[in-house]
Every structure is written in structure tokens, then in C-alpha cells.
Symmetry: C2
Subunit: 558 residues, 2 copies
């Protein structure tokens, strides 16, 4: 009898595993059980479907049932698997259309049960016009409501990727959007400074953002939502999108006695085998190894699901493929900003006890003289001492995707800053500055590690300006034109070309932080000051670019 | 007495070395000798200056003499260094303005003498309106002539990067451009197929391209050029741009007795030290190590010059920086195509005895359902057996730069295909398909290495169709709509979904190549045919995407 492969879950990892298995072993019998009424759809495309950029719903469907049938893969939609008997190698469940029970045997089983959206525990969740965005049906429902002109104010609960993607989509539709985030910052996987840059940008685009505001309750009238109550606010809301994140869907696995990992997702080895013989898992329901820390993590992503699906497809046919792990690389777009990350943030690296240092540089996408270039701010993080690259973040209108991919590859290669500073990337004026921003950041990190120059973060500068103004001064070495546009309150302005002549204006006894736009001119100014005998000099990381606090307009005060 | 640093050459590597040295050791005396009347200009920007995209000449100047002076770096323009006495640590030469001789002593000397444009040995070079494009003055001269309405036909001699960049600039200005290339293909650092894709594109844009045509002579009237004579053609030309490539400028080094490497460029070690004590070299005049082959190569590029300049700047101050080498990464833009390469081509890998295999895939820049995506064709090359990644090429309107940078990083990390298939890159629909084209290519390479399926290149298919039509058949499994648009002559068309029913139309005894658009459907079809008992089945690399030969329009013949 031919080998029989059953796949539970029909969105990303499941169909990929099935298709690859069928190519490796055409004689294998393959069926996919899918609880929902759609299969093989692009979950990551839903915000763009809401926003109207993707107009045809069909485009989100990667492969239809008929296309699977052509490859001799049977799709069982609206079939819920309710039990797995790993000893007998049987699954059983219910046809959700007919209510009929079913049972099926397998030689190999793939769990691709995905994740579910977290629901908050508050009153009012049963009101109309409350949505989450996890399946294509959620999107259909939200889209229908969002098109109603009666729906003017929308609250998005949760300031993660999907919430921020939706903020754009809904703002473009003319809605007044408020984001309610429980944590002290949006985008908690990013460092505070970069989340702050994004927050300022979104606020300029008309999105209201409330941080450190937990959802308390949702109130309504006539069965429809009208208000969202947070710790301190009572917000009008004609619709609410719950975007508090997801959790792995492991109930079936748990019931079958499969090992659940420390992250709460299904434990698998490098071959994507679960703890039960013949049973594999792939996609959002599994945990994985973080390749920087070596620890188990749960990072659900479509790209990972695809890679894991392929590995499982090979291995169910007796192959020997492995999935080594992830870096936590992620990217999303909101308005014209691309926001991306790979590896560890400063916070995360600190929690791992790694003594991280950071370089913040301008990520311009072209040679300075080539018109039309866009800019992102790039942060690269390394371990002090060893120089090992630990991670990066990029935010802005520039090629955040390319910059982060380059750093992600350096993490795979376990490079240090010196390695990274020497990489041979594609340069020509329309595509990159002669030195890629990644290389510039690596050089800054080496300067930081090698030199005797001190560094100070924007948040430390802010604190010192407030708490010890008598012992501390902040020197701004930008040009007067730049200073007129925007300056940090209480800073002293001396343009770098006048610095040597005007040294007398500085107090040698005070600790002195220096900043410019992004950190290069201030670095040079620090070296000059050092040379001139100032010894309490520190360069401010990332310049005014990463100053996310209050600024003032107007001429320099001195 | 303070240490004295002299730098010979003021375009890219020289100024970079000087500036970095001055930051590392502010007390050092630093002078730059520059033969030309401009310093620190962006050589790579010249084609865009010609094309009018960069309107202000000043934008090409990265730093002025005054800016250098501010950093206490002395610039000696129009000073030609004619001799170096390495024993006495002295240089001497002539002020080209005044004619006066000069001499100067050094503790450390940096040679950054760059490269010069190759001049062909033909008659007529002294005619007016013959240009090269090496310095900003060359660009000024060409620009002036190109703006004349009398200049209608322009011949570009040489089909390398700069010639092809200029082809766009001059075509956009309304000139009739002909490229004359001696080799059998333009872009000789690329494989024939990818050079062919670019050539077809350029021809569509109105650029005439003659390959395998050596320049024989240039003819003129009244002192001005009128015709270019090649082996077989007599071309009208009101202007000629000589773009035959460059050679390292090593005469000064040679005269001083410095070691010249096997590539003809100045030999340096990893610290960029020449064979003479206290003398360093950086930029286009030096040779370097190719990090894939380990051999010495000469690849002059602005990005490399910048990195080397920094290394030299550190080392002249007693530092210990190294420049490990290059991958030969390069990119350029012509019209809307970006054309990029890293590592070895198939040809180059073959010459190294490495048994290369290739995967050619569609490099779409977004998820398939996200609108506005552009496409490049991507080729990734690996070593058969070990699976080690050797190089890549990309050409098209898509993100060739990002794709090539990812592969370049994999070369730095000495990855094999399995490593590359598992990398965690930034995915979200606006930025990438769920599986990056690089990952897809790595998977194809693994399929090639692992499977028993045969592969055949487009050029082999062409040869077999011509030489043994009775023993060979080419099956096109694309949809009828695609076939109607463009088909390979003598191919049989059976859409993949009809394949199982129509197997009888194929001759089992003939060797059978299968193609589709890019190679995925044909791969699946090959597996089906294999399963159906066909044993002489080969998948055609890169599908019709990489078929650079004649095609025909119209309905399928069967």
C-alpha cells in the first residue's frame, strides 16, 4: 500500500509541505485538512486587501483546490481534526459542513495548525464592529464595516506590526485612527529610540498613539461599539480592531501528548520532527532556535513557514533536510516608512548579558549626489569586546529591507564588525553610497570599541540636561541653517567649522556631549575637542536623528 | 618633529586615507598631491552628469580644498609627483601651473595614483570629438559636444559598464548610439545568457550593438571625426567615446622600484603596505585578493577605494587594520535595468576548474499579489558536490542590488546552498516574496545536486534543435496564452495541466528538454514525465526567460 501523508492546516506551511512531498514521492497519497473555508491564502497580504491596494480577493489565494487536485493533492476544507491517535496513526474529526464525523489513517502526519489571535479579557467583546485580522474571513468582515461612512473613529488595540500596517490602511480610507498600546512604547521588539522615530512619523500622518494605556473595556449602544475605555481615556470608536498578537495553536498537539516547548509552541528538532514518531510540525505552531542566542523562540512568520514546509516535505519522504533556526528578522511597511529588524535589539542583547554597543547612522540609498534617494535610519548592534554583530534595526523611507538583509546575512555568517566593514557590496550611484550604511555603521562600532572617545545615548543626554544642568553641556555642531529648523532645548550651537575659534565658549569642567545630525560631524568635533584638551567629551549616538524628545524651532541662543 | 604623511592622488582612496589619518593622529602633517585640477570627485557619477540627471557639477565634488584645509589637510592641485626616493623618503616633481620643481619629505607615503583609460592603437585618434570618460574634465568635454545638435550619431567603443551607462545617457539626449564591442558579447564579466538578456533590452531601447567587431580606424573630415571603421562595418559617427576599460597607473611605483603584482597593479599586503618601508597604496592602482578563488585580481571600484583608504589611514598612524579582499561585486544601471554580479560567473568558475552549476529564477521584488513589483532575472552559481556558493548575476528592472548583496554576503560567509536556502531575510509583501528569489535559487541548486533529473542550458537546447532534430524534442509546458505571445521555434506546446492526458504526443525515445517561463512548471512537468516512464528528460535552465535566441510569435503548431 502506498504511503499516506496527512497535513492538518492549509494556509502556508501545510500546503508547502504537501506540494514538496508530492514532488519528492509522486506515489504518496496526500490530503490536507483545513478547518476554514479557504486554503493557501496569503495571511500577510490582508492589511493591503483592507487598504484597497489588493483589489481582488482571489489574488490572495496562492493555489486553488483545483490546482491542488491537478497535483493529486486532496483538499478537505471545513474539516476539523479533533483528535490524533499517535499510537494507531489515525486522525479523527468532524466535517463542519455536514456535521459528519470522519477518521483517516496516516504514515506521516504534518501539523501546521498555525496560531490564533489573542483576545483581551474585557467587557464588551460581544459587541458588533469588533474585529481581529487573522484569517481572510476576518479581513472580509473588517473591509465591509470599514467601507461604511458611519464608521469614522477606529481604535486599534495593539501597536505591533499588524496594528501599524492597518493604521495606514484605515487612515487612507479617511478614518480617524487611534492606537492603544499597553506597553510604554509601540513596537516592543524594537528599541525605544527607533519605536519613537516611527511614532513621531505616524503622528505626523494623523495617527493618534496612546502608549502605556491598557484596554479596560469596550462600551456600546444598540449592540454596536461606541467607545473604548483605557486606563486614563474614554475614546470614541465606531469600530475596534484587536491586534494584540498571536499565540501558537497547540491544543490538538497537546491533547495527542506531543511535547510542547518552553515557548508554548510545539517542540520540534532540526528535522521538524515532533516528539511522536512519524509526526512533523511546521509553521506558526512550532518553536524554533534563535541563531544569535541559541535559545528556543517563537517567531511566527510566513517566510519561515514556507522554509519549514519544504524541509518537512522532504523529510516525510525519507529525506534529511534541516531547518537551523531564525534571526527574528522582520519588516513591515506603514505609510512610506519601512520598518525592519534582525537579530537582537539593545534591550534584548542586554537581557542576554551580552554588553551590546550600537551605531546609529543615516541609511541613504544612493550616492549623495544622485537625485531621488530616500533615507532610513540604521542601527547596528555589536557585542563590546568581541565585536560580534548581534542585530540591527532600520526605519524610514529608504531601503530598510536591503540594509537589514545585509546585516541578517552577517549574523548567519557570524561576522564581527571588522568582517562587516570589509564586505564587498554592489556599489554604483543609483543603488548605494560608495560605502554602504551597513559598512559605515560597522566602522562606527569599531571606532567605539577602539577609541578612548566616550559615547552617550540621546536618552542619557535628556536625563542629564534635566537633572544636572550645572555639570553638563550639550554642544550642537550643525550648521546655523539646520539649527534654525529644529534644535534640542538647552543645547549650545557652535558650527563645527567655527569650533577651534570658539573653544572659549565651552566650559572645560563640565561633562560635554556633542551632537550633529547623525553623528559624523560630532565625532570629528569630539576628536578636535579631545586634541584641544577637553577630557570629558562624549559623542551623542545617532545625533538629532535619534532624538525622539521635544525639540524647538528657531535661531541659536548664542 | 611631527610625522609627515604625503598622499599622491586626490580622487577617492587618497583623500579618504588622509582624512582618516588626520582623525587618528591630529598632530600629523598631511598633504595630498593631485595632478588634475579637481580633487575628491565622484568618478562613478560622471555618466549621470553627462545624462543631465546630475545638473550641478559641484555636486560631484565630495569635498573642496577649503574643507580639507579646515581639517588641516593641505591640497596641492596641479602638482605632478615624478619621482619617489624610497631610501631618502622623498618625493619630487613639478608644479604644472608654474613649471617650478618641488621636493617633499615623508615619514609615510600613500600611493593612490588610480588608473588610466586604455587607448586603442588605431589611426585617427587625434581627430576632434573623440572622448574617454575617466576624469571630470573628460565629462565636461563630452557634455559640451553632446549638447551640439550637429552631433547625431555617437559610437561607443567598448561594451563594459561605463559604455552601457553612457549608452542610456546619450540615447536619452536623442543621439543614435552604436556600441562596438570586440568580444563576442557585451559585458564580458557576465555569462553569455545574461549579457544576451541585457543586449536584447538595449536593442529594444534603440541602442545598436555590434559584437565581435574590433575597432579598425577612425576617419574624419576637416579635423573632426565622421566615421568609425570596424572589421566589417563603416559607421557614421559625429562623436566617439572610447570606453575600452582601464589599467592601473603604476609608472611612478615602478620607477621607484616597488613590487608590481602579477595583475600589473601595485602589490600590497593585507595592511595595504607596498614592498617599500613606509609606503602604502590604495584604490585603483593596487591589486587585491579575490575571496572566492584566493588569487590576486585587479578590480578597480570606488567602494573598494574607500574601504582601502580607511585601512591605510589607520595603518599610517601605527594601526593594524586589514583589507581582506574583494568578490568582484559590481552593479550598474542602464535605462531601467539594473545589472549586477558578485563572485564568479559560470565561465570564470569553469576556468578555475570548479564544476559550477547554476540556477536561474525570476527575481520578483514583492509578493506575487502586491502590485507594482518589478522583476529581475537571477542566476546563482554553486560548486557541484560541495554545494558551495560561487557567485550570482542579476539583470532586470527589479532589485538586482539587493539580490546580489545577499549572495555577496553568503560568499563572505562561505555558505553552501543548504545554508543559503535557510537564511532569515526580511519578508513582508511590499518587500519580497515569502521566499526570497535567492532562497528559491538555492533550493533549485539543491534539487539539481540531489535529484536524478537532468538539466540542459538554453544554448545546448539551441544546438540540439539545430544539429539533431530527429533525436531531440523541446516541450513547452506554458499556457496557450503565453505561447501565443512568444515561442521557441520547433518547440512542442502541451500546457502542464494537459500533460498527463497528452503524453502520447511525445516521443519516448527522443531526448526531451522541457521549458516553461522560468523553470518551475517545467521542473514539475519533468518529475511527472519521469514518473510516467520517460527517462531522457531534461529541464531547461531558466526557461524562456534565458532564451536569448530567435523566437516566433503566434499560436502553437500542435
Amino acid at each position: 500500500m502506498n504511503q499516506r501523508l496527512l497535513v492538518i492546516g492549509g494556509v502556508a506551511a501545510g500546503p508547502k509541505a504537501a506540494a514538496k512531498a508530492k514532488r519528492c514521492a509522486p506515489e504518496m497519497g496526500v490530503s490536507i485538512y483545513q478547518e476554514e473555508g479557504e486554503i493557501s491564502y496569503a495571511g500577510c497580504g490582508l492589511p493591503y486587501y483592507i487598504g484597497g491596494l489588493i483589489k481582488e480577493r482571489d489574488k490572495l489565494i496562492a493555489r486553488t483546490v483545483a490546482q491542488f487536485a491537478q497535483d493529486d493533492i486532496q483538499i478537505k476544507k471545513r474539516h476539523r481534526v479533533e483528535e490524533i491517535d499517535v499510537a494507531k496513526r489515525m486522525v479523527s474529526g468532524r466535517n463542519l459542513e455536514s456535521g459528519e464525523p470522519f477518521a483517516d489513517r496516516y504514515d506521516r502526519l504534518v501539523l501546521a495548525t498555525g496560531a490564533y489571535a489573542i483576545r483581551p479579557r474585557v467587557d464588551g467583546l460581544n459587541l458588533e464592529n469588533i474585529f481581529s485580522l487573522h484569517s481572510v474571513f476576518d479581513a472580509d468582515a473588517l473591509l465591509l464595516t470599514a467601507h461604511s461612512p458611519q464608521v469614522k473613529d477606529v481604535a486599534i488595540v495593539g501597536g505591533g506590526y499588524i496594528g501599524l500596517e492597518l493604521a495606514e490602511a484605515l487612515t487612507q480610507m479617511g478614518k480617524k485612527v487611534t492606537i492603544v498600546e499597553m506597553a510604554p512604547q509601540i513596537l516592543t521588539l524594537f528599541d525605544e529610540d527607533f519605536a519613537g522615530i516611527l511614532q513621531q512619523y505616524l503622528e505626523k500622518k494623523g495617527v493618534r498613539i496612546l502608549t502605556a494605556e491598557g484596554l479596560k473595556a469596550i462600551r456600546g449602544q444598540n449592540g454596536k461599539v461606541t467607545h473604548v475605555l483605557t486606563q486614563t481615556q474614554d475614546l470614541r470608536a465606531d469600530a475596534v480592531v484587536l491586534s494584540l498578537g498571536v499565540r501558537p495553536r497547540v491544543d490538538l498537539a497537546q491533547k495527542a501528548g506531543l511535547k510542547i516547548g518552553e515557548t508554548g509552541a510545539i517542540w520540534v528538532n532540526e528535522k521538524m520532527e515532533t516528539s511522536a514518531a512519524g509526526v512533523y510540525a511546521a509553521g506558526d505552531c512550532t518553536e524554533m532556535t534563535h541563531l544569535v542566542t541559541g535559545k528556543k523562540v517563537w517567531v511566527p512568520l510566513g517566510s519561515t513557514a514556507n522554509k519549514q514546509g519544504r524541509v518537512v516535505g522532504i523529510n516525510v519522504c525519507g529525506g534529511n533536510a534541516v531547518f537551523p533556526g531564525v534571526l527574528g528578522t522582520a519588516i513591515f511597511k506603514t505609510f512610506d516608512f519601512s520598518v525592519a529588524k534582525t537579530g537582537l535589539s539593545m534591550k534584548e542583547a542586554g537581557r542576554e548579558g551580552l554588553h551590546p554597543i550600537q551605531a546609529i547612522v543615516r541609511g541613504y540609498g544612493r550616492a549623495h549626489y544622485y537625485p531621488g534617494g530616500k533615507e532610513s535610519v540604521l542601527k547596528v548592534i555589536a557585542e563590546k569586546g568581541t565585536g560580534r554583530v548581534l542585530g540591527a534595526q532600520a526605519v524610514g523611507e529608504g531601503s530598510s529591507d536591503k540594509l537589514i538583509d545585509i546585516v541578517a546575512m552577517s549574523l548567519h555568517g557570524r561576522m564581527n564588525c571588522e568582517d562587516l566593514a570589509a564586505v564587498d557590496l554592489a556599489y554604483s550611484p543609483p543603488f548605494s553610497p560608495a560605502l554602504s550604511p551597513v559598512i559605515v555603521a560597522a566602522n562606527v562600532l569599531m571606532n567605539k570599541m577602539g577609541g578612548d572617545l566616550g559615547w552617550i545615548s540621546a536618552s542619557e543626554v535628556k536625563e542629564k540636561l534635566e537633572t544636572s544642568p550645572g555639570n553638563f553641556q550639550l554642544l550642537d555642531v550643525r550648521d546655523p541653517k539646520e539649527v534654525r529648523g529644529k534644535r534640542i532645548p538647552h543645547s549650545l550651537s557652535i558650527p563645527s567649522e567655527e569650533l577651534e575659534k570658539r573653544l572659549g565658549e565651552l566650559d572645560k569642567n563640565r561633562e560635554t556631549a556633542v551632537h550633529c545630525f547623525s553623528g559624523l560631524r560630532s565625532y570629528k568635533a569630539c576628536l578636535k575637542l579631545k586634541h584641544a584638551g577637553f577630557d570629558k567629551i562624549k559623542n551623542m549616538d545617532g545625533g538629532i536623528l535619534s532624538w525622539i524628545y521635544e525639540t524647538e524651532k528657531g535661531g541659536s541662543k548664542r
